[in-house]
């Protein structure tokens, strides 16, 4: 680390490009993206379908390798025209939490173990991992379902469990791709409220990709992405109560 993490932005992206494929069929999904997110900040990422939102999250999460540009996480350069001495899986496991449109929980594990899984994969003991999982479930108000099978949960409960899983390793960054799409407006707002609370509580930097008209006004800062480029704008920052 080049400096104390708090003094650096959690995410700094400059001139990021991503081209899928080669030759005639190549698609330039990102054509120079600039973006900065501070610790504890929740920003919205909006844009038309096919504009490159998911691609950007995949690059930030070291799921897909960018084609050019630079990514710094908490002041550390992880990508600069190539991955910097990096194990993408370790990075994802230790520093990034993912929340998707569909919760994608592991159906053969119960609620607690789904949340504990990232900790277990990081080598923590079963006891410690489950203890932390129970705390997170309590924080997200699903502790009463701790022993339940995934198939027995409602959509909203599943999404909260997925958020708890994303928070398990206390990652400095959470990337959420349309996390409220399958929820009604009340539950969608509840999820955004939780994300904001977590950001404050743990100083997590959160990027939320969304189409959802109901939650867009809640962001203080938004990035518009159009045709592979980002445009920053101030959001309404409506109080969530």
């Amino acid at each position: 680390m080049s400096a104390a993490p708090e003094l650096n932005p959690a995410i700094e992206v400059a001139g990021l490009r991503k081209r899928y494929g080669v030759g005639d069929t190549a698609v330039d999904a990102l054509k120079g993206v600039d973006l900065t997110v501070q610790p504890g900040e929740v920003i919205g990422l909006i844009g038309p379908s096919g504009s490159g939102k998911s691609t950007l999250l995949k690059c930030l999460g070291a799921v897909t390798e960018p084609s050019d540009g630079r990514i710094r996480l908490s002041g550390e350069t992880v990508y600069d025209g190539g991955w910097h001495d990096l194990d993408p899986r370790a990075l994802r496991r230790d520093r990034i939490g993912f929340v998707f449109q569909a919760p994608y929980l592991i159906p053969f594990l119960d609620v607690t173990d789904n949340v504990a899984l990232p900790l277990l994969l990081a080598g923590r003991s079963n006891r410690e991992a489950r203890q932390r999982a129970r705390e997170l479930l309590a924080a997200l108000d699903v502790q009463h379902r701790a022993q339940a099978a995934i198939a027995q949960l409602s959509g909203g409960e599943q999404q909260r469990v997925a958020i708890a899983r994303a928070l398990a390793n206390q990652p400095p960054i959470i990337l959420a791709d349309e996390p409220t799409a399958p929820l009604d407006s009340e539950r969608a707002l509840a999820v955004v409220r939780i994300l904001n609370r977590m950001a404050q509580q743990y100083r997590t930097a959160i990027i939320v990709v969304t189409h959802d008209e109901k939650i867009i006004p809640t962001f203080r800062r938004l990035y518009h992405i159009r045709d592979g480029r980002t445009y920053e704008e101030a959001g309404a920052g409506r109080d969530l109560g």
Binding site: R89, F100, Y104, F108, L109, L117, P118, L120, L121, N126
Partner: protein, 397 residues
């Protein structure tokens, strides 16, 4: 770390149980096949051990009396008794035929023995040995005859006075011991019509029925009718003599084929049951291939059904080792269930086989190792597919 494989198996235990059951039945058949082979070998050894003989003296240039027909004059044994190192020598005959008791019929190997001599069954599980010179029988329990029952062999009825166990021929037919004289009659003597025909033929032969030689035809006929043969002479060696040594003496002085116990075992196992053994080996191979195909197909399908979960696992940082381990353990778990089911059913259905099925612990251990190996190999296809999954697919569009 919790066992992902264990959780997945518990979560879809019904699917695993059914698949394991199917695989288990297949493994059960495989173990039974091996057991049938072991049973044949063991039957052969029991047959040799129970005869109480050290040497088998048979017709020259034959692999008799079990693997090839052999016949000797029934006075050969007298000559053997005079040789150094020979303690006992006794005639025996073997003939496979149908025996009837009431309405039941059984295919049996009739063994003609001399009471108290080599060839007599050594252990009885009920009753007594043959004591009279005619019309008594000791039968193997697997023939299904009871003590005191009367069993018809050829033209005579025999009373069952004793029962043995594990005395069967190389093809699995139960043995029925009867006095040698009766057996010789059943095997070699001709029926009345044949005798009449034979006498007519001798009389019609001008060389044998010459005017100047009255009584010649009569003598020839009688000598033919009284010609008595046996299949082998069983020899017990005197204490202090080696069987091989005595066998050599018999070969040299009597110019007869003589086999020791190890040579007899070799003949029974390498020659007599060799074809069956090869048959079983081919079956085992096919069953192994079929099991491997089934396990890989099942594990592969199960993995295809979990591709999204695997992508999620990769996305949240699971190592390849963790994912490969999960699939491998599931395959091995399936193999374990299959093996336990297979071992159980093989044990349960073994008594219903008409032949002795010997389930050796060593074979079970080897079978277990083979099942595990097959399952491990069968999971490689699924593991390769799983490791190729792109974690990006978990994120969707």
């Amino acid at each position: 770390m919790i066992s992902l494989a264990g959780r997945d198996i518990l979560h879809s235990w019904g699917k695993y149980a059914f698949t394991g059951l199917g695989l288990g039945l297949l493994i059960g058949v495989t173990l039974s096949m091996a057991g049938i082979y072991r049973g044949m070998v063991d039957d052969g050894k029991a047959l040799l051990a129970n005869s109480g003989a050290d040497l088998w003296v048979v017709q020259r240039d034959t692999l008799g009396p079990y693997a090839e027909p052999s016949s000797l004059r029934d006075d050969v044994y007298r000559g053997l008794l005079g040789l150094p190192g020979v303690a006992h020598a006794a005639n025996v005959t073997y003939l496979t035929m149908q025996a009837r008791q009431g309405k039941r019929e059984a295919r049996v190997m009739v063994v003609g023995i001399q009471p108290g001599e080599p060839g007599e069954p050594r252990y009885l599980i009920a009753g007594r040995q043959i004591e009279r010179t005619h019309y008594e029988a000791v039968a193997d329990a697997s023939a299904g005859f009871q003590l005191g029952q009367r069993v018809r062999i050829r033209r005579h009825d025999y009373t069952v006075v004793g029962l043995t166990r594990r005395m069967v021929s190389a093809s699995g037919d139960p043995m029925v011991f009867i006095p040698l004289r009766d057996a010789q009659e059943a095997q070699f003597l001709k029926d009345n019509d044949a005798i009449v025909n034979e006498r007519a033929r001798v009389r019609a032969n001008p060389a044998l029925n010459r005017p100047g030689a009255p009584g010649l035809a009569e003598t020839v006929s009688r000598s033919q009718e009284s010609s008595r043969m046996v299949n082998a002479v069983l020899v017990q060696v005197a204490p202090g003599w080696s069987a091989a040594e005595v066998a050599e003496t018999i070969r040299r002085w009597k110019r007869l084929q003589t086999y020791t116990v190890p040579q007899m075992e070799e003949i029974l196992i390498a020659k007599l049951i060799a074809t069956s053994a090869r048959q079983i080996a081919v079956f085992l191979l096919i069953l192994a291939v079929v099991s491997a195909a089934i396990v890989s197909f099942i594990i592969y399908t199960m993995t295809l059904g979990k591709l999204r979960e695997i992508a999620v696992l990769k996305l949240i940082g699971a190592r390849n080792r963790t994912i490969a381990g999960m699939i491998l353990q599931e395959a091995l778990g399936l193999g374990l269930i299959g093996f336990l089911v297979g071992k159980t059913v093989a044990t349960l259905w073994a008594p219903y086989f008409p032949k002795y099925v010997l389930l050796e612990p060593g074979d079970a251990a080897r079978g277990f190792a083979a099942v595990m190996l097959i399952c491990a190999l069968a999971s490689t296809l699924a593991i390769r597919t799983a490791l190729r999954v792109d974690p990006a697919t978990a994120m969707g569009g």
